[in-house]
């Protein structure tokens, strides 16, 4: 049922002339075009957020203030966080979903192609509002990505712009999620029962439900912030009978599931890549699905662990501590399953696999530091320190981002029709994998020794590890140029990928040409 590669460029006749150039990208309703747009947008945001991170690490290279003043520093940390979460990781995963879900379930396109276009084109508008506020008097938001009031009530117009930007991004995410759910539920090829869906599709299905559940909570919460700021309400101000801590409860009720929104699709990618290069089916498919679902459900009852130092009743602290520890169980199941998938396989180490293996190992370090932080008395010491910074960067950089890299190296041949340059890829991997640890590992020690997060200047005892982390940061930042080179090379040419460049890959996407035809599966494929 494989389709001959030469038909890839042929457009179905009923389209007549498709618009070209800019108009094509503005009006496209094609899942692959939109996937590409998402990925390009994320790349630009990654560069922006990355340059901010470099500036932060430059300022922290040594004690004293050298490059940026504290108010600009706070803007940079805040924007870096917002951009990397809402502008990079989330859009990248949506880009992957757009490209891959129809290919993996045997569908011609997404369920709502026009809404798909709209969900994407909202994002640049939101990004312009968010980043544009840097150039207004008073500068961009500086209250941390968590926007805690009353600090976020003190700020200027940029706070309102950020709230609006988050509203728009939230709307975009919800539309994207609805589209993904509908596509997965209704457009699977005949014979693809739920328990035969690829893991990536499963993880995205669960992620999409999480998005629909929590993005409205975020929207409501920041709307309350907006009215507190502009219309005299006092939801979060004690002076008018409100409570600043209520914001934190609402925010983290969104925020914790959000963390899993940022990692579940990564689990899906890694569960796809490892079996291919182990030349073995995924170990424990069923338990993977159940583990993903349990993690998603548990994510709704652990938000309090972000607030252990706020002061809560003992019973609440214990409840949140136990619930948080419990998450280690399904997460552990996943890690064990990945290792068991590699066990007694026939392993090769293409760049995609290198990143996937690094993910398993380094994400687990982030998981362990999460377990350490779950213990209330330990968390009392470590909350709001660099230990937490280390923890979530292990989970989001060596976790989510490395999984994204694995997915890129894995699927780029499918998308472009060319194999990636493994030599450059290996350099990219090794430089990134070493430098990222030089960057983030010492942050554990900084936090333990007592360095708070979000500070532009620090005591002399923290100088050495900060210098090391900064050097790691610069190398890691520079290494990402290699990725850009790999992508550009792969898009422009290279060894033809054929339908399937991998010996061990399974899945419908590999039955199509690379790149796949315009309407991916014009007739539904049949599963045996």
């Amino acid at each position: 049922m494989a389709i001959d590669g030469s038909s890839a460029i042929l457009e179905p006749a009923h389209h007549g002339a498709l618009p070209g150039g800019t108009w094509r990208w503005l009006t496209t309703t094609n899942h692959k075009d939109i996937g590409t747009l998402y990925l390009c947008f994320a790349a630009v945001m990654f560069l922006t957020g990355g340059l901010m991170a470099m500036t932060i690490r430059a300022e922290l290279f040594q004690p004293g203030l050298q490059f940026v003043q504290p108010e600009l520093f706070n803007q940079l940390t805040t924007l870096h966080g917002l951009i990397m979460i809402f502008g990079v990781i989330m859009p990248t995963f949506t880009g992957f979903a757009n490209w891959q879900i129809p290919l993996m379930i045997g569908a011609p396109d997404m369920a709502f192609p026009r809404m798909n276009n709209w969900s994407f084109w909202l994002l640049p508008v939101a990004a312009a509002l968010l980043i544009g506020s840097m150039f207004l008097p008073g500068g961009a938001v500086a209250g941390g990505w968590t926007l805690y009031p009353p600090l976020s009530i003190q700020g200027g117009i940029s706070y309102d712009m950020t709230i609006f930007a988050l509203h728009i991004m939230g709307a975009s995410s919800i539309m994207g999620a609805i589209n993904i759910i509908t596509t997965i539920l209704n457009m699977r090829a005949p014979g693809m029962t739920p328990m035969r869906m690829p893991m990536f599709v499963w993880t995205w299905l669960i992620t999409a439900f999480l998005l629909i559940a929590v993005m409205p909570v975020l929207a409501g919460t920041i709307t309350m912030l907006l009215t507190d700021r502009n219309f005299g309400t006092h939801f979060f101000s004690a002076a008018g009978g409100g409570d600043p801590v209520m914001f934190q409860h609402l925010f983290w009720f969104f925020g914790h599931p959000e963390v899993y929104i940022l990692i579940l699709p990564a689990f899906g990618i890694v569960s796809t890549v490892i079996p291919t290069f182990a030349r073995k089916p995924l170990f424990g498919y069923r338990s993977m699905v159940y583990a993903t679902a349990s993690i998603a459900i548990l994510s709704f009852i652990v938000w309090g662990h972000h607030m252990f130092t706020v002061g809560m009743p003992v019973a609440a602290q214990l409840f949140f501590m136990y619930a948080t520890m419990l998450i280690a169980v399904p997460t552990g199941v996943k890690v064990f399953n990945w290792v068991a998938t590699m066990w007694r396989g026939s392993l090769t180490f293409e760049t995609a696999m290198l990143f996937a293996v690094a993910f398993v190992c380094l994400f687990t370090i982030g998981g362990f530091s999460g377990l350490v932080l779950a213990m209330v008395p330990v968390d009392t010491q470590l909350q709001d320190t660099y230990y937490v910074v280390a923890h979530f960067h292990y989970v989001l950089v060596t976790g989510a981002l490395f999984a994204i890299y694995a997915g890129l190296y894995y699927w780029l041949p499918k998308w472009t029709g060319h194999r990636v340059d493994e030599n450059w890829g290996r350099w990219h991997f090794w430089l990134s994998a070493v430098s990222v640890n030089v960057l983030f590992f010492p942050m554990h020690f900084l936090g333990l020794a007592g360095m708070p997060r979000r500070i532009p200047d620090y005591a002399l005892q923290f100088a050495d590890f900060n210098r090391i982390a900064s050097i790691g940061g610069f190398v890691f930042g520079a290494s990402q140029i290699l990725l850009l080179i790999v992508i550009v090379k792969c898009v422009r040419g290279g060894e033809p990928a054929g339908n399937c460049p991998y010996e061990g890959a399974v899945g419908l996407e590999w039955t199509l040409s690379s790149p796949p035809p315009y309407h991916s599966f014009a007739t539904p494929p049949e599963l045996e």
């Binding site: 498919y285 064990f336 333990l448 708070p452």
Partner: protein, 370 residues
Amino acid sequence: MTCARACAVAVALFALSDRSGAEYRFNLPAPQSSVAHTAYDLHIIVLWVCLAIFALVFGAMFYSLLRHRKSLGHAAHPFHESTTVEVIWTTVPFLILVGLAWPATKAVLAQKDTGNPDLTIKITGHQWKWEYEYLQEGVRFLSVLATPSEQIGDRMEKGEHYLLEVDEPLVVPVGRKVRLLLTAADVIHSWWVPALGVKQDAIPGFIRDTWFRADAPGTYRGQCAELCGRGHAFMPIVVEVKPEAEYRAWLAARKSDQAAKAAESGRAFAPAELLALGEKIFTANCAACHQANGRGIPGLFPALAGSAIVNGPPQAHVGRVLQGKPGTAMPAFAAQLDDAEIAAVVSYERQSWGNHAEPVQPALVKNQRQ
């Protein structure tokens, strides 16, 4: 041979770390209270458990990565399910977690027990300084960063306790249970002293409590842990733990100082006196926002140089400082500064950076408070 080389590397690394001056610290600071002790021990336990699991799991993974390679001719064994194994690796971690939860629960219960304190101190977080009030003693003072701005701006060599030094530390007796009541005046702050194992957010409009009992006399340093604006890095905490007798002596001295200051506050001040005191007050309380040069930060904090309020009638100026401006970052200083201090800082603003308005006497401030 390899051992010798490893030793040489270790020595070289050690020498390197030594030469750089500061020591590398890999763990929590030495605990100085029972709460800090339990946190320290708990952390060590969890860390070992994690390391053991890590070694086991990734030992297996790296074994597989090395031996089960296609390049070594290893063929894949396509097994992909085993209920027994899966049940084991779901239940064993669960049991380990129960084992960890037990000591953690005991520690939480101890940590939350703020009953029967020997003394109670109310701590108020301000942008960007701490206010301490000894409730049973009627003693109250502000504690402000003591590091000179020249050090922060790299124009002077940094001192040993750079950014971790204050003008007036908190003083407590050793071995006594100190209960802390925390709140804040403007935004959320967090009072944190690692060696004492205390970190508690200070939330405007609410009071939260926590406690510590210091094991040994000494000076313990910490910082604000919750982002609170541009001065977040610059509001450290210093706690001096003293033997009971020294603590008593300190308290007595503090009380007589306070009484003397209160008596002074009503009298008339010479202009030079006002300006000298005013400059001190401004540096400690206002410069973080309005800047030492009085020019503020455009878009965030207004310039006082050339300001209409500062150069206008004294009542409006004093009023703004006493009451602040609700809804903005400008705090109310009525409760923080006494009449003389307000008069001094207002006079200083009125006569600095090219401003030429007449100075203000404490009597006017006193008048306006009513």
